[in-house]
Amino acid sequence: MTTVALKPATMAQALTRALRDAMAADPSVHVMGEDVGTLGGVFRVTDGLAKEFGEDRCTDTPLAEAGILGTAVGMAMYGLRPVVEMQFDAFAYPAFEQLISHVARMRNRTRGAMPLPLTIRVPYGGGIGGVEHHSDSSEAYYMATPGLHVVTPATVADAYGLLRASIASDDPVVFLEPKRLYWSKDSWNPDEPRSVEPIGRAVVRRPGRSATLITYGPSVPVCLEAAEAARTEGWDLEVVDLRSLVPFDDETVAASVRRTGRAVVVHESGGYGGPGGEIAARVSERCFHHLEAPVLRVAGFDIPYPPPMLERHHLPGVDRILDAVARLQWEADN
């Protein structure tokens, strides 16, 4: 007898496992999209599903995002639980009419008679050297649409837990997969019992006392790195991983900022009209008397996603985060 060594798993593997477990547990779960079958998805997240569950349960569709999501609506109307893959962030835009005019409001327009339990997986964000239309951070569009849940994991365990919760949800969930974290590894044993994380709860990834970094998805590891680097400056930064943008966990965020008195919101998508503005406003409304400095944002620039050779200048990095934290200190000292 040999004991099986606990292997680190990647986020992509955890997502695959979540899909597989969901399909095994519930025959109404169907995976569909371009290239999800034989190829196993361009990121291999659906690898092996068509072989294990058949092409009727893991279906290669024609290349048409509105058609993929629109037919998934009809399938959900008939009692299935479709899990749709959009392949890349900017490829999802043709499906926006279906998303906004039907997916998000079917429950509402039928007064609750016809909920749509479907999950829309969208690999999003930059940092992988993708060419144009392969690196957008589109979360603000989804957040602005009532009726959708918007979820984004940053760890291997959350990728599994949140995807299972999304598929189990009776409401549509936009499941944003930070594609530059697909290959990030964690000591997660896929054969252990796996926890399903409820949608809507933020988590403190790193406790600290000097200031709170509020972030999600691809920026979580960057913020954790920044927090480590900040120790040399004598700053003890707390990092809050939102995990869910809709619903928003005001309680966890406000409790953290009340402890630290300072906050920086960090995300890749543009700052103007971006998630950070909403988050900063919510923090200000709830924590004004606890704040030692204005809530700052470290976001991508307000530009179309840049070509890959310039993306490092666009993406919020450790230095830009530390610079913001330094400005918080300055505000406090003067």
Partner: protein, 388 residues
Amino acid sequence: MTVMEQRGAYRPTPPPAWQPRTDPAPLLPDALPHRVLGTGTAARVDPDLLRRLYTELVRGRRYNTQATALTKQGRLAVYPSSTGQEACEVAAALVLEERDWLFPSYRDTLAAVARGLDPVQALTLLRGDWHTGYDPRELRIAPLCTPLATQLPHAVGLAHAARLKGDDVVALALVGDGGTSEGDFHEALNFAAVWQAPVVFLVQNNGFAISVPLDKQTAAPSLAHKAVGYGMPGRLVDGNDAAAVHEVLSDAVRHARAGGGPTLVEAVTYRIEAHTNADDATRYRGDSEVETWRAHDPIVLLEKELTERGLLDEEGILAAREAAETMAADLRARMNQDPVLDPMDLFAHVYAEPTPQLREQEARLRAELAAEADTDTAAGFEPEGGGR
């Protein structure tokens, strides 16, 4: 080998071996719309079906005039009348079995009513008290769809799901001529053909997309021709001939139920009224055109057939009209009552569980309503009907 037999064998191969497919004939629609009334074919049609179609046409026309009147009285925000197109609406409803699904657009209230939907519930969208006044699963009628052609992929997905579950359910989706220019029309037809989904698309070509005529909408010989490129049959039918529409749709539904895949049916008809009460049709079409189509009225055509063959007499005509009047009177009476609305419903059906943010907003509205009620009481006003 026909095109349908070639299906699935197609792979692009390099020239010179590559040969274009040469025999599209089985998929092409007839050059002229299929007709039944006034032809020898009419004798084949079950007289009971013809009488049933007649009763529904008369009731449908009355529904259209009543709903239009309710618009003028301010009871409906808007009503897109289907006067002139009733044969399509009624046939669409009557070809379906109970287990089948109808996917109507905003002009298709009549199809929903002919399928059995409460006439008042069919109008909640247009009255403005709620978007969809019914449970779509009860009668298997999807919500009346306002964006153009977006309900077509839903019909495909539902039909596909039914087949995956082993149910012999057919979905029939209604769309207008303008809707055929939308991307969702293309994607829906393509998915349906690739999946061989049991779905029937009925295009009601009524001549205009609001003001834009068909020749500015498409360069195709007919809208039914569009089927060929997807690999499904296209059928062209006289949309004012209720028996013909019923026959063609029945064929298509039977074909779909038997596993034969989708069909695109184009019904050539005409919108006698303006697009809605907000539209001025005289800006884009002449009276003589409308009069020509009035002479080809679906009710007149069917009444002529039935009376000439001795299947309908004055008494029968009066009975149909009386039934229609009864429906109209009931509709009028019920639509003249103010709907009772609960403002808290605003938050009830956004998510299965309201988000914390919605709960906060819900509490705010509740407090506002309580304050309003207090003010009304203090000022000696009775709160208006319903509402609180």
